[in-house]
């Protein structure tokens, strides 16, 4: 790559808990929507129409703004065969691309390994949130996990600056390589050094950051702002991963679902506004997915676990519009009362891995999958 073209970067936003697809991209003229949703529905006049058939749920106004600029691809009917309808198993399948057995390597972690095979940058992939999602977990691949960028680091509980500096200095000496250590101790030392180096590098990000964009005060917006800060600091991070929860709306969906999408939509809008304000949007795309959609018929208060869902790709390099086919909601076409997926989620990954990162997708997503021409 030449210096004039920046490396491609992805932000993965996981909608954890099973987002209600039928209530997100809504077939607003279809009587089956209203028949199946006596309680858990949006009113026709509140739905934000994107064409004569489909509309976004009412809180997605900011995403509709990006959609109108041609920056949002809506991918219909995403999922995989025989959904187990278990959150954790389903999320595992999405993370490891292994629907038939338990996988050990995450797809995004594999991408990180390909992008930085010699582990030159301990910040190639970062999760924003506690712990590591399985999508990023691959043995031997360093991945940072940042719950809150402003307090991220080693021994952050030590309040005095001087004491902490002394402590970090001591830590770096205690973890520096030695001659004649055991394998385990050597491994501990190099890992400790990686962790400290990563934390040390990333701390410049909030210091350097300035922006006119005001992010709303929600957990997802805070994570997206942290991501923007690290991205603007140009630390070589290629994969940013974060999530918002919980879309598991079994009950009280009409109270919860609008709030969830309000936070997500506002956060995303602020993030892209920030990218534009820094003239830095051309090499970033965002990918949104959820582990499954929800049951077509509501349960009186919410909806139960379903199958087919929707994914979104957002960014300047995206050819906006609707892709794929919305699964039929006719009762004879449903499986166990659910919309049937007609588009494999690994096709999404294959598109991201090949068309965005320029890598061979087969070893990453475990097989060959047809891609949609979503990217410019």
């Amino acid at each position: 790559m030449t210096s004039t073209k920046k490396d491609p970067v992805i932000v993965v936003l996981q909608l954890t808990g099973g987002n209600d697809y039928f209530n997100t991209v809504i077939p607003y003229n279809d009587p089956l929507y209203y028949d199946n949703r006596p309680y858990v529905k949006y009113e026709q006049e509140d739905i934000i129409k994107i064409d004569d058939t489909y509309g976004f749920m009412p809180q997605m106004g900011p995403i509709k703004g990006l959609y109108d600029q041609g920056k949002v691809a809506v991918i219909n009917g995403v999922g995989y065969k025989d959904s187990p309808r278990s959150h954790f198993r389903s999320m595992d399948i999405w993370h490891t691309c292994e629907p038939d057995k338990v996988g050990t390597e995450g797809w995004a972690g594999r991408v990180a390994r390909e992008l930085d095979p010699n582990k030159e940058n301990v910040l190639t992939a970062i999760n924003f949130g506690h712990g590591l999602p399985r999508a990023l977990a691959v043995p031997g691949v360093p991945v940072a996990a940042i719950a809150d960028l402003s307090t991220y680091g080693l021994l952050t509980g030590i309040s005095s600056q001087d004491q902490r500096a002394k402590a970090l200095d001591l830590f770096s000496r205690m973890y520096s390589p030695t001659v004649g250590g055991s394998f385990v101790t050597d491994y501990l030392r190099s890992t400790g050094t990686d962790a400290m180096v990563g934390a040390d590098i990333v701390k410049v990000a909030p210091e350097q950051y300035s922006s006119t964009v005001e992010y709303p005060n929600s957990p997802i917006a805070m994570h997206l702002r942290d991501i923007a800060q690290v991205y603007f600091a140009d630390l070589g991070t290629r994969i940013f991963y974060t999530q918002h929860a919980s879309f598991d709306t079994h009950a009280g969906e009409m109270a919860g679902h609008p709030m969830l999408w309000n936070d997500v939509s506002q956060g995303i809008a602020a993030f892209f506004e920030d990218l534009e304000a820094h003239d830095a949007g051309d090499n970033v795309i965002m990918y949104l997915f959820s582990e499954f959609g929800r049951r077509v018929h509501d349960n009186g208060s919410g909806t139960d676990h379903g199958a087919a869902g929707v994914s979104f790709v957002i960014g300047n390099q995206v050819k906006g519009g609707q892709y794929g086919e919305y699964p039929s909601a006719k009762s004879e076409d449903l499986e166990q009362g659910d919309l049937v997926p007609n588009y494999d989620f690994r096709s999404d990954y294959a598109m991201l891995v090949e068309d965005w990162f320029g890598l061979d997708s087969k070893p990453i997503v475990n097989g060959g999958f047809e891609k949609l021409p979503i990217l410019k």
Binding site: F88, V102, A145, L154, I158, A167, L170, M174
Partner: protein, 466 residues
């Protein structure tokens, strides 16, 4: 042995057989003697209650039946690890959870996983054979390994295979025919019909034996022929030396010293073959009595000499630290989060990544998990408001701990008689030396220095071992 050496050995025993012990408790144990303490761990008395569930449920009723949400189920168990007076009962439950790894990712029912953990408490130190029978009837396990889909006319081999491969014999000690035959013997071992979850919520699952779905015809299993049922298969499995070896190697790996990962056991020799064979002899002679093997193991020289030869699991880091600082002896606010802490370090209890359980030893360490471990420990031991930390400070003050050398040695002692390398110790001493001696006249400043010193000791490579 000097008194200090006795205390250090006792700290080792309590770390392995439980989640550590306070200085006061260590002194009491040393006074009563090592073997008597092993006896007390193995046979706790009536006045050693487990975690106080009644109080926990009064404050956190959702912890009893957490449903599909792992967090409250994890908090439930973590509270019991921290507050129990019968530590080996929790530790052996954690051991069996590593071996018979059953995960919420598929079971989607922490109520049933907690039932399984309780079964491990109740049977985990009894006869291994009884434990396997209980495991075969455990609803979470049946669902996890699809034995409810194992029918007379349509055999599902998942449970039959894992019983042999991961729960008893280990790979290469049986054939595919044995898997098939074992699976047939367990047809009809299922869970009673579960009422649908909506609209009344979850119902508890129950074991159900359906004779009409059981294949009662002849089977040929590991060289024996008969109209075997599930119990017969377990009998035959227990008679194999391979089973004794497999289970004892697991015990050694969990309680004594880190072994290579389980899949390598068929190719890599045991870390201590002699110790393993001694354990196997006891296991077989005692008719698979876990108590006998565990007691022998804790009293053995190979155990006593294996200090700091294991990387602590995340559950051990969290429970051990909380015990040391005296938090969550009562279900105080914030308890929901303690169940998540091991997850941040790579061990989601009640939700192992697969039936193969966790990779242990150095596999616990990556840059994210190491940061999480170091920060978790540091934030607690440096908090001088916590009751356990206060006790440590009082003790140090009473003992007249003053000089940098004394401070480092005392802090390492209070953190489990941690053995620091000379190099680490020198670096730590040099670090505190620049601020001179401790001045107990200013108690809060002295406390802060001690807390920060303990935080640094918690950050050492040495502290990652247990």
């Amino acid at each position: 042995m000097s008194h200090k050496e006795d205390l250090a050995l006792m700290a080792h025993l309590m770390r392995r057989a439980g989640f550590g012990a306070s200085r006061e408790d260590l002194e009491r144990f040393v006074a009563q003697g090592y073997e008597a303490t092993v006896e007390e761990l193995v046979n706790p008395t009536e006045d050693q209650p487990g975690g106080d569930m009644a109080t926990m449920l009064r404050y956190h009723p959702s912890f009893l039946l957490p449903g599909g949400t792992p967090f409250s189920g994890q908090a439930n168990w973590m509270y019991q690890m921290v507050s129990t007076k019968r530590p080996l009962e929790e530790k052996i439950a954690l051991f069996w959870h590593h071996v018979f790894a059953t995960g919420n990712s598929k079971v989607d029912n922490c109520d049933q996983l907690l039932v399984q953990i309780q079964m491990f408490r109740d049977y985990g130190l009894g006869s291994y054979k009884d434990l396997l029978i209980e495991l075969s009837k455990n609803p979470a396990m049946i669902f996890w390994l699809d034995n409810n889909e194992n029918h007379r006319d349509a055999v599902n081999e998942n449970w039959g295979r894992e019983l042999l491969e991961l729960f008893s014999l280990g790979v290469s000690n049986y054939t595919e025919v044995d898997v098939r035959e074992a699976s047939r013997a367990f047809t009809g071992w299922t869970i009673a019909p579960k009422p649908p979850r909506q609209p009344y919520g979850r119902f508890s699952w129950k074991f159900d034996y359906r004779e009409e779905d059981h294949d009662d015809s002849e089977k040929s299993f590991l060289g024996e022929v008969g109209n075997f049922g599930g119990e017969d298969i377990i009998d035959i499995v227990c008679n194999q030396p391979a089973t004794a070896r497999f289970i004892c190697r697991h015990l050694y790996n969990f309680f004594v010293a880190d072994e290579v990962q389980v899949p390598a056991w068929t190719i890599e020799p045991a870390r201590d073959e002699e110790a393993l064979e001694q354990m196997m002899d006891i296991f077989i002679e005692s008719n698979y009595d876990m108590k006998a093997v565990v007691k022998f193991m804790f009293n053995s020289d190979f155990f006593k000499n294996a200090r700091y030869s294991k990387i602590k699991s995340p559950a051990e880091v969290v429970a051990g630290t909380l015990k040391m600082v005296g938090e969550f002896q009562f279900p105080e606010p914030g308890i929901l989060n303690i169940g998540k802490e091991p997850t941040y370090m790579g061990q989601s209890i009640l939700d192992p990544p697969s039936v193969e359980g966790w990779q242990t030893g150095s596999e616990w360490i990556n840059s994210g998990s190491l940061l999480a471990r170091v920060n978790f420990v540091a934030d607690r031991v440096a908090n001088t408001e916590l009751p356990g930390v206060k006790k440590i400070l009082d003790r140090m003050k009473a003992d007249g701990v003053t000089t940098p050398h004394q401070l480092i040695d005392a802090a390492a002692e209070h953190m489990g008689f941690l053995e620091l390398s000379d190099e680490t110790r020198d670096q730590l001493v040099a670090n505190v030396q620049s601020d001179g001696d401790l001045n107990w006249a200013d108690e809060s400043a002295a406390g802060q220095r001690v807390g920060e010193t303990m935080a640094l000791i918690g950050a050492t490579t040495e502290y990652q071992f247990g």
